[in-house]
């Protein structure tokens, strides 16, 4: 090829207006001219310092305001709401030995959370095993979609806890019933997102498959699955978020080991500091689950990379 063709690629502006193309000319300038380069890097440093200040100071201010209101409630309105320092002491004592075992009914808070997570994972995995294939079928066949859609529409808005009696009746035990509730919780977002993902596959990909004469199995493996994966992960992410909320409520009803029942038990003991510690811990576990799923999601988000 001649030089005119090679020169092209420098001219071609990126189709997607992503930020990565912007700094390029700036870097070229900095290679030749020293002062602007130094100015730029110090500006960058200042920008970083400013950003991290904002990332710490602003949320910090919120926590301080909430702490102030909390203290106000404790002092003026309801002295049963524990003070900040009492709660802090409780948190330290609870978290200093999270995995103690004093008999089957007295386990550390770490165990409580792990038991709850175990139920969530069991129900969530079962829902994935059932929901993702069902979603695929609904996405691929208009008839299956038509057959299932009304049932799903009726059941989806129902609080998953409404299914707990059915679970207790079916399984005659608390633990499988809680898992059953998580299964019901998780399955709808998975079905709906998977089906939407299959339906959102651009006709272009299927045209490519047709020109290449890909077989049914090859289309599934090489086009359908990878094209739908981001949607499936979105469904899983939504499911997991709701499942973690629902397990706390489900365990309050079923009892046994688990953070939900532990929280309820502390209410029965009128140990309010422990309840607040549990609330914060549940939130932190939720964040961890959520960021794990976002990490997975960004790994398979082809459009942004």
């Amino acid at each position: 090829m001649n030089t005119s063709v090679i020169a092209v690629d420098e001219y071609e502006p990126a189709a997607d207006t992503d930020a990565s193309t912007v700094p390029e000319p700036a870097n070229k300038v900095s290679q030749t001219m020293e002062p602007p380069a130094r100015k730029k890097s110090s500006g960058k440093l200042r920008g970083f310092a400013e950003k991290s200040m904002r990332a710490i100071l602003l949320p910090g201010a919120t926590f301080i305001i909430v702490g102030f209101i909390w203290t106000l409630i404790h002092m003026k309105i309801s002295p049963q709401i524990p003070s900040l320092s009492d709660t802090w002491q409780a948190a330290i004592s609870v978290l200093s030995d999270p995995f103690y075992k004093h008999g089957p009914n007295d386990l550390g808070i770490g165990w409580q959370i792990l038991y709850s997570l175990g139920r969530v994972m069991a129900g969530f995995s079962l829902a994935a095993v059932v929901g993702i294939p069902v979603g695929f079928m609904m996405g691929m066949s208009a008839n299956i979609q038509r057959a299932w859609q009304p049932l799903i529409q009726i059941l989806r808005p129902v609080s998953p806890l409404a299914w707990l009696p059915i679970g207790l009746l079916l399984f005659k035990a608390a633990n499988p019933s809680a898992i059953f509730v998580i299964f019901i919780t998780s399955i709808w977002p998975m079905i709906i997102n998977t089906a939407a993902g299959v339906k959102a596959i651009p006709q272009d990909y299927m045209n490519v498959a047709a020109v290449l004469r890909l077989g049914r199995l090859e289309i599934t493996r090489k086009i359908l699955l990878p094209a739908t994966l981001p949607h499936v992960i979105t469904g899983m992410r939504l499911s997991l978020n709701i499942a973690w909320m629902v397990i706390v409520a489900a365990e309050m009803l079923t009892g046994g080991v688990g953070i939900g029942f532990w929280l309820w038990d502390e209410w029965n003991n009128l140990n309010i500091p422990h309840i607040i510690v549990a609330i914060v811990l549940i939130g932190i576990v939720g964040i961890v689950l959520e960021s794990g799923m976002s990490l997975l999601q960004s790994r398979f988000d082809y459009s942004r990379k």
Partner: protein, 264 residues
């Protein structure tokens, strides 16, 4: 003239809620091996429908398509398509997008290392060897279209079908890609059927320009022979009176004989 690719009485009727809509009728065209044919017409005239029928992505309602005297009515790699919006698979790298086609077409004919080499060779033709491991989302629109062309070429098609391949690109990128396509066609001697709505592009690249009348019931209005010598040089042609006569003939057809009733 040999009839390498022949379109016989093609007609297309779509069933709509308001009844049947006749998009195309009586399209007859004969293309020789190694010819570069452009189909030009106003938007909505059914030029893409013609291409989709030749590619087999659309089933014709009337008539048939013959390739080397054999009827074709299903898609296949012997009529590789360069899609307008590149249609690369976003989860595969540049290399993997082309390799998918190579593996499918030459899976039994070539060894693993031959297929690797053939994939690289075709990406080299379009000057994309530098971005083998990038995903489509990481490269520019022009580069994506280059990969799309490499993928189509890698199937060693009997006919290369291009559906407004440069329509979505800016003018500068488009010009460079047109030059690339001219060079590749000069080297490989592909038979090409290209849909375009760009008069300059049609005159620059084609051996013949097929001009279509407006729909409904669109058909071929005129066929213009572009007898400019090759290789063609964009800058030299800018001052060539014959080039301007040819260009004028296409414009005359599009804007006097086939004026769009309402602005599209």
């Amino acid at each position: 003239m040999d009839h390498y690719l022949k379109l016989e009485n093609l007609g297309m009727t779509f069933k709509t809620q308001k009844g049947n809509f006749c998009a195309l009728k009586q399209v007859n065209l004969s293309i020789s091996k190694g010819e570069f044919i452009s189909i030009i017409g106003h938007s909505g005239c059914g030029k893409s429908t013609v291409l989709n029928i030749v590619s087999g992505l659309l089933k014709t309602s009337e008539g048939y398509v013959l390739l080397e005297n054999r009827e074709v009515n299903a898609p296949g790699p012997d009529r590789a398509v360069v899609f307008q919006n590149h249609s690369l698979l976003p989860w595969l790298t540049v290399y993997e997008n082309v390799r998918l086609a190579v593996d499918k077409v030459f899976g039994s004919g070539k060894s693993r290392s031959e297929r690797d080499e053939w994939t690289r060779h075709n990406l080299e033709l379009v000057n994309m060897l530098h971005s083998l491991d990038k995903r489509p989302g990481e490269i520019s629109g022009g580069m994506k279209q280059r990969v799309g062309i490499a993928r189509a070429l890698s199937m060693e098609p009997k006919v290369l079908l291009m559906d407004e391949p440069f329509g979505a690109l800016d003018a500068l990128t488009r010009a460079h890609l047109q030059d690339s396509v001219m060079e590749i066609q000069a080297t490989l001697g592909n038979t090409v059927l290209m849909i375009t709505h760009d008069v300059d592009e049609a005159v620059l690249l084609s051996d013949r320009i097929v001009m279509m009348t407006n729909g409904p019931a669109a058909t071929i209005g005129e066929v213009l022979d572009v007898d400019l010598p090759r290789p063609r040089e964009r800058l030299a042609l800018a001052n060539d009176p014959h080039y301007h006569r040819l260009r004028g003939a296409v414009l005359e057809f599009l804007y006097r004989k086939q004026t769009k009733k309402e602005a599209a």
